[in-house]
Amino acid sequence: MDSLLKVPEIVINIASFLSTTDYLNFQQINKRVYNSVVNGDNDSRYWSLKLTRMGLKRVPSHEMEDNKLVDENNDEDPICIFELYKSFTSQDSKEIFKKFYHCYNSFAKKLYNNNLVNFFPASYSSDPLKQIKILNLIKRYNLSNRNDTETFTKIDTSFNIIRDIFINSVLKEMELNYQSNNLVTVAHFIKVLLISNEESNAIEFFKSKADLPPSLTVLSSDDELFLKEQSQEEENERGTGVLNPESLDKFLNPLRDFLNEKIKLADILFQSEFPVILQFVESFIQDVLLDILNNILSNYSAFLKSNDKDSKANYECLPELYFTFVKKFNTELNDSVNAGPTFQKVVYELLNLYMEPFVVNYMNQTTRVFEALINSQLVNYDIKFQDKEREQNAKIYNSLKDQTDPTNTSNNDSSNNHSITTEISVTAPEADSKQKTLPRSAHSTNSISDDKLDFLSSFTKIFKFSNNENQKLKQQLQLAYNLNLISNNLQNIKSLISLDLCYKILHETSEKTDEIYKFHTMENLLPLIKLRCQEIFKILITQLSNNHVKPAFEKAIMLLQKYNPNEIKQIEIKFDSLSAADGQVEPLVQFTELINIGDIILQMISIFYKNELIPKKIIDKNKDFLNDVIQLKKNFETSIDDFVAEGLNIGINKLMDEISFIFKTQQLPDDYNPPPPSENSPMRDIKPTKCAVRVVELLSNHCFLLTGATDKGTIDVYQQEIGERFFNEIVKHLRKSFISTEGAIWLICDINYFYDFIANKLKQKNVVPYFVGLKSIGQLYIISGKDSKELGKLISDLGKFNGIFTQEEIYEFVQRRSDWVRVRKDVEKVMYGLGLRDCCIM
């Protein structure tokens, strides 16, 4: 044993495992041991290690100057001592430890002996905060005993027991004080818990005081919460919401108040010392609000279903819910000291985080709902339109039938009409069963036909029936029915597209876009928002195009194509409301109205595009020029342009048919080839013929229909086309006329009249030269037959005709001279050098 002490390493090693008391005793075992081993550096190492275990810092001696500044009076206060001595040097380690020992050894001793009665001295007994601080420091002090496991463990075990007892009594006190509403005291205990690292207990306590009363989450009944279908007026007043705002407020306000109350409580209990409220708000959002959101959505779905609506449109109420939630649980929340100045912002982010999936669902659902909404409106309009048309058709048929049925003319009771209406809708246009009941009466029909026609008796022969044959009556009725239908349908062309409906749909598109775009503050949803807004716009165009505009134009064009003005005029039996306006090609007039409406729709879409999509950056004009939205819009515009072009082309065809018809029927043979004046015959005034006046009237009625209805380019093309085709009609007409030298002046007068219209009214410069050419053609006829040679020269002078006609054409024209046979030889001689007869001789 003695020899062991001779080895310093062993002595030092043994010493390091000794408790303070034992070590001090060991130092005194004998002088040699003391002097050679547990002294000086070895001694201060022992103390330094103890201090280091308690968390103090060892520093080189020269840095320890300021330590002398410590208030020596506080040396013995166990709460302050750890603050006073944070570092030490090896020289003063023993001294410093002495001070700690002095402060804490009494506590350590009690713990070591498990003597826990009156643990704290009287001065601390009423202050739990001081007590917990001391407890915490005792635990730290005990760390210095780690080298002596037995002492350390014993103290530590006892310490844990007393600490548990202490915490439990704190919790008990807290509860009691909370019950008696001594919140300040509770806050004091909370502090104790926080200091003792019992945060979870503090939070638990707070949570237990912040349980949501279950009554607050009971939703109002569906009928109270959701609005039934609104009338138009109501809709304008309160917007297009589906939730009853009062009811929603009534439900959410108590929840908001609850949350505000808890914010206040957290502020009192925790101040800014420990953050609890954010976590609490987050779990409130997660557990309460999301549940509510889900419940409302599923209730709404059920509500829709019970009202025979699309139950999968339930997310339509989400925007309202979202923004109400943000308002109630963010904007209207009190400030929180506990959460700090960023509280509002953080809560907003939390709300967004948790509601984001709902918003995404809404966006995914709403485009489909929107499409269905638009589609149903367009389809409904179409159905109504068709119903109306069918009804009108039936009316026409009945009216026609009444006109041909003498027994029925005065007996127009509605019940009878009704039965026929329904039957007609099935059998028209065949209407065979009806035919059989028609009485044969040529008499009545004849009276109807009286005065209906003032021209073209040859054509009408087909329709007039000389006998009382039932078959003919049947045919006539059928024909009249068909023609009246076409005529009536023409009147309906302009209602094929409803401007009101288009406007409404555009308005709805705008609202839907706004509704979606409102979420743009959720930045990570921005790409989705843009995509959905683009989709809404695409739906608008596709629906408008496919279900409204295209079919309308197609139908209008079909009607235009079917239209034969002469047939319409010949109908002997007419429906009252139908009166073919004279001097107008009715379908062209109607069609231009359609063009006008189409143009307005395009403009509305363009305005929407420019004012809504571009400023909101839903579409970037520069970046997205290849975007399918822009392509779709362009395609729509092009398709309307194509329809317009096609329709106008047909319309122009019809107009030319009409002009050709007037030329054929109104131009009298005497107009350009009057009989030789007799002694008595008065001199004819030089003015345009009646036929020319009618033709120009017809042109005037149609050339300017498009003005204001579409762009200048289209109007120019339309007018030029009319001008050119009209020119061709005149040429055709001239080739069929006979013109005498005496009559030429009226031809010139007519051509001047046409020219005047083209040059001064139509003002299409490209077309004018044709009519200048025509003026020169007019001169071919005024030349006296005696001047036949010069006539030949004139024909050869192509420049004279403005380069419009080839020599062959001019030659054809000159053949329309009434004295052609006489002048031919001379003319040809000049033209070809030899007359044809000369050739024969050779």
Binding site: P677, S681, D685, K690, A744, K775, S776, Q779, K800
Partner: protein, 223 residues
Amino acid sequence: MSSEDYGYDYDLLFKIVLIGDSGVGKSNLLSRFTKNEFNMDSKSTIGVEFATRTLEIDGKRIKAQIWDTAGQERYRAITSAYYRGAVGALIVYDISKSSSYENCNHWLSELRENADDNVAVGLIGNKSDLAHLRAVPTEESKTFALENQLLFTETSALNSENVDKAFEELINTIYQKVSKHQMDLGDSAANGNANGMSALNGPTISLTPTANENKKGNGNNCC
């Protein structure tokens, strides 16, 4: 044929032709006389245009049917067609353009060649408003008119000066010729239809039937 085409809204119908170089203002003279209109940038006439105005002389309604011809028409066959049946003519020149005055001779001889011998002719110096640019002295034209038995007026279609006067003088002259002729005709054709005398019934004014007679009497006057 309805009556409006052949209506008797006049007692006498005179065909008058407007001739002269291109650009002297024939069309504007006509539009000033018939419509009281003036078109600053009117284009040159193509072919022939017509306009009418009815005047009253001696209680008779006289309809002047005026043919406005294209000044640049070079086909004699066409111009001669214009002259056919004309009882009056106005040869128009531009007082600021001497070439248009010099060409009056050509127009006059073409007229004499193609129109009725008895045709009444007026010489018109148009654009009198351009006095500061005058190139044709009034006296010279006056002398020319006198020598050729033409009426003479200087007019301005722009400011209306003398336009009505020029036309009215010509129509008056024609009327005088016609009434004198009809008296002659009444004497010589006593056996003719009494109605033929009455202009009211069918006033086909043509001097042709008497042209030969006049030629015999006045043959030396013209050439």
